[in-house]
């Protein structure tokens, strides 16, 4: 009984070590192929387009509601202390630095990362990856690099666009629910929010994009065991991405305060 429990714990640690090691290896493989940078042009464009189109609508909706929720949450105090002039700053500061990148990163991982793992995993179990290798094509250069570039660029763009959407969503909610004039709201953003607030969110977006790309590719390219294996890999990929997002966020927040 005890030995079986220990074996289970050992197995779990083995699995964890395999995946952490695998993700690091994947990152190294990608970096090695990025120096000098060469990527399959058409594949990269196709991925940029796909990733963007797939995630744009959901990110806009998420962002607009996030902004609105931030404003509603601060509404109580705003009213209580009559600090209407701080509403834009309060909502904007947390959106730009924290909530925007995290929410959008999580949505992105659920949408694009999961899809990527499923796609690569299916290619794996149907021998398409082996077929590429048999044709002397390196799957990392041909499949992973374009996805890596697309995810990194697109998540960064999405966070920038999402930030703006969230601020607008917050402004509308402030106007309608709290009666805070949009001009007052934006004035406080312009005067109190610094470029650094905005940039630190953007840096996080870049890091999240890298993490989601590397993790989703690792889990996709290590799938074993048919369709069931693909399902399991997608699951693990999303969970691992979420954990990575929070851990990275913790360290970056700490480093950039």
């Amino acid at each position: 009984m005890i030995s079986r429990g220990l074996a289970a714990i050992g197995g779990a640690f083995n699995g964890l070590a395999f995946d952490v090691g695998g993700v690091v290896m994947m990152l190294l493989k990608i970096l090695r192929r990025c120096l000098p940078p060469r990527a399959d042009g058409p594949e990269t464009w196709a991925n940029l387009y796909r990733v963007g189109v797939k995630s744009f609508p959901i990110v806009l909706v998420t962002a607009a509601f996030t902004g609105a929720i931030m404003v509603i949450q601060s509404g109580l105090y705003i009213k209580q202390y009559g600090a209407e002039g701080l509403l834009g700053w309060g909502a904007g500061y947390s959106i730009l630095r924290e909530v925007g990148p995290i929410m959008i990163g999580l949505m992105f991982s659920g949408r694009v990362g999961a899809n990527n793992t499923a796609e690569l995993g299916t290619m794996m179990v149907t021998d398409q990856i082996d077929a590429l290798r048999a044709l002397a094509i390196d799957p990392v250069s041909y499949l992973v690099i374009p996805r890596f570039i697309a995810m990194m660029i697109m998540l960064t763009l999405l966070v920038v666009v999402g930030d703006l959407t969230a601020l607008v969503g917050g402004a509308l909610t402030g106007e309608v629910l709290l009666g805070v004039d949009t001009r007052v709201y934006f004035e406080s953003i312009v005067t109190l929010i610094t470029l650094q607030d905005f940039l630190s969110g953007v840096y996080k977006a870049v890091a999240f994009g890298v993490a989601i790309a590397v993790i989703s590719c690792h889990f996709g390219l290590t799938v074993r065991g048919g369709a069931v294996g693909v399902g399991r890999a997608v699951n693990n990929s999303v969970v691992a991405s979420a954990i990575a997002i929070f851990v990275i966020d913790y360290f970056m927040t700490w480093a950039m305060q």
Binding site: T122, M123, T126, D127, Q128, D130, A131, R133, A134, L135, A136, I137, D138
Partner: protein, 255 residues
């Protein structure tokens, strides 16, 4: 036809030395050793799960063995650097058991892929060769369709076209006629033999259609539970008194 270097006289094109592979504690290939002379076609037989597909992948350098080594054209596949390995692979065409067609490309793009990847072939010629290949396997005019729209037998034939279109000197077929009707099946086998006779290709053909490979292969091997039960020429297999060999070759079961 030499690939990367000249072989010594009498050296086999492919040499498999003591290949052993474990999966999850089970031995799925157990010390497999065999030679394939240049220009011959080895018929690889064996019950389901015997390790045929795995052996083929190891020979192609797609899976690493736990023990043993594979020499192709005198080169140890396991120790080639990336550049040499790529060069070697330009000389290999492979039909996978489960087709392995690229989902994201249509049939024409799939078949043209090896040519486009290698470069140097003008686009009109690529198109013409794709049409010619499809006609040869009895599937004219499906170039614009996607793999998901095809039946298993159709996918198998498309996969065959993709493997043979660059006319590689080495061809590995994993059950090239599975799921095909007898007429199409014999068409494929005839095509396969013609490539070997005219082009001097060296081939490995895994098949459960023993009567189909009898006329097109000149050497035969039988794998059972990861062990090579038999390996030799046609005369040798006809003379063998191994029970499993007789069952496969004569096509009966005595239990």
């Amino acid at each position: 036809m030499t690939l990367l270097s000249a072989l010594g006289p009498g050296d086999p094109m492919i040499r498999v030395e003591g290949i052993t592979k474990y999966y999850l504690g089970a031995t799925v290939l157990d010390g497999v050793t065999l030679d394939i002379p240049s220009g011959s076609n080895l018929g690889l037989m064996g019950p389901g799960g015997a390790g045929k597909s795995l052996l083929l992948k190891i020979i192609a350098g797609l899976v690493e063995p736990d023990q043993g080594r594979v020499l192709v054209d005198g080169h140890d596949v396991g120790t080639l650097d990336a550049h040499k390995l790529a060069q070697l692979r330009f000389n290999i065409g492979m039909v996978f058991q489960n087709y392995a067609l690229f989902d994201s490309m249509n049939v024409g793009e799939n078949i043209a892929f090896p040519l486009r990847q290698r470069g140097g072939v003008p686009e009109e010629e690529i198109q013409a060769r794709v049409r010619e290949q499809l006609a040869l396997v009895g599937l004219p005019g499906i170039a614009h369709q996607y793999p998901r729209e095809l039946s298993g037998g159709m996918k198998k034939r498309v996969s065959f076209c993709r493997a043979v279109i660059p006319a590689p000197p080495l061809l590995f077929y994993d059950d090239p006629t599975a799921g095909l009707d007898p007429v199409t099946s014999s068409k494929i086998f005839i095509h396969l033999r013609r490539m070997q006779q005219d082009g001097g290709t060296t081939a490995i053909t895994i098949s459960h259609d023993i009567d189909g490979i009898k006329p097109i292969c000149d050497r035969f091997a039988l794998l059972d539970h990861g062990r090579l039960v038999f390996h030799g020429t046609r005369d040798e297999i006809e003379a063998s008194d191994d029970r499993l060999v007789r069952q496969f070759w004569d096509g009966f079961s005595d239990d």
